[in-house]
């Protein structure tokens, strides 16, 4: 199986926002098909890291995207599900209008093109949200909205999917099904997924690798190793059972054997 951006390499990334150093010397390698969970305390710079990858915040250092031929790519397709979508809940905007805004130039006030409707339907059905297509966005529940945004983020299929605490404000069953969907999508499309989360239990169960971030990368590596690390256990007050759970899960890291990350500095 091939994938678009074989890996994402972040080198010495730093960001200063409003005179405050939010990130310093962040080095990260993300392989394709890998689900990396980014964990850390509040204010650790997790969201800033995602926004830096998106190119939204000014930063020092580099973000490189390499394709399977080890060639640099300037602008890979990045899907993004923001942490908390602030919008006007009274807006007269349907789910389909959102897809049109992201994917189509044909003005929504002249109606939607059949091609766009089909594309939106397929993506929504992939996250079991096909029935929401004509609904007004402001009417959706928190879980429905996250599924719609996930569907939007995977249309077209991105090289890299960034999820910023996508389950805040959703009930336990919703969280479980959301993570299941992300895992399925990752397997189906061979996506690289970066998941910012507070939920270590989900990270232990789903993530291939875990990045413990606090202004800079404190620990990164396979999920079981990171969860067994004393710094992580102390920071989150967790016992050995999460690391045990993580080591019991099948992992799929290290697939990108062709990536010569050393070639890029």
């Amino acid at each position: 199986m091939t994938c678009g951006a074989c890996c994402t390499k972040i080198v010495k990334l730093g960001a200063i926002i409003g005179g405050r150093e939010v990130l310093r010397d962040v080095d990260l390698h993300l392989h394709c098909g890998e689900l990396a969970a980014v964990v850390g305390p509040n204010g650790a710079g997790k969201t800033t890291l995602l926004r830096a990858i998106l190119g939204e915040v000014p930063h020092s250092g580099h973000v490189h995207f390499l394709d399977s031929g080890n060639q640099r790519r300037d602008r890979p397709a990045v899907g993004y599900v923001p942490q908390k979508l602030e919008f006007d809940h009274t807006a007269p905007l349907s789910v389909l209008d959102l897809f049109a805004g992201a994917l189509s130039r044909w003005p929504a006030w002249l109606g939607h093109r059949p091609g766009l409707v089909g594309q939106a339907e397929r993506s929504l059905e992939a996250v079991e949200a096909g029935h929401l297509i004509r609904r007004r966005v402001g009417q959706l529940s928190g879980g429905e909205l996250q599924r719609v945004l996930l569907a939007l983020a995977i249309t077209p299929v991105p090289d890299l999917l960034l999820l910023d605490e996508p389950v805040s404000g959703i009930d336990a069953a919703g969280i479980e099904s959301f993570h299941q969907m992300v895992s399925d999508l990752r397997n189906r499309y061979h996506l690289s997924v970066v998941l910012v989360t507070h939920d270590l239990a989900q990270a232990a169960r789903r993530a291939d690798s875990i990045v413990f971030l606090n202004r800079t990368v404190i620990v990164q590596g396979p999920a079981a190793e990171v969860l067994a690390d004393p710094r992580v256990r102390q920071a989150f007050g967790i016992g050995p059972e999460l690391a045990a759970e993580a080591s019991g899960q099948p992992r799929r890291s290290g697939r990108c054997v062709d990536c010569k990350l050393e070639g890029v500095a």
Partner: protein, 276 residues
Amino acid sequence: MTGWESWVASGPLEWLQFGFMRNALAAVLMLGVLYGMLGSIVVSAQMSFFSDAIGHAALTGIAIGILLGLGNPVWAMAAFAVLLALAIIRVQRMAAASADTIIGLFMAFAVALGVVLLSRGGGFARYTRFLIGDILGITRPDLWWLAALTMVAIAFLAFSYNRIVLAGFNRPLARSRGVREELWQGAFAALVAAAVTISIQWVGLLVINSLLILPAAAARNLAKDSRQYLWLAVGISLASGVAGLAASYYWGTASGATIVIIAMGFFLVTLAFRRK
């Protein structure tokens, strides 16, 4: 008198027997489309206060136009309004203060500057026509300008509507989808500035912003998606324009203000039938 003219003169369309009323009707129809379309985005993107500030900036534009010795101040108005619009957006993005504070202070400054310049020598009364507006004074060349601007607005919204709507919904999301929202917001703001300044002499500074906002606000009460929203806004804008113009003829009132009162009626009625 031809048969058609005598029919008009005797019926409920009696007010259309005058050339200036027919010109005014043509203007109201175009303004209806223009303001309905632009207003739908102004309201969605929460730019109501912004467009209000642009309307007030016209006063300064008039003053600058007169200082420069221009016969028709509309170009100076448009130029100043566009500049002010872009300045507001620029300062807002620097996040020096909250968005409404920035608009408020720019608006107060523009109005103060306009009043200072126009009141030199006690001559402010000459310019009150810009406060009330006079749609009956619209000329044929004016109508062509208005038609051109309406076409530009339609073309602009055919080209960029989806992206502007997405940016109005959520900026970071729009940016992550490759929408250059700063560019589109600037272009749209310039278009609103041009539309407001060109029509201020006909509609009046005091009420022009309501003309932009009320039809869209009424449409929002009913619309479920962006297509319904835009067409309802245009429809309500056209209906209040035509009804308001006719009413102003019979009541002998200022047309702009009368149109706004009818549009407010639409808003209240749609509020009662608000979608769940």
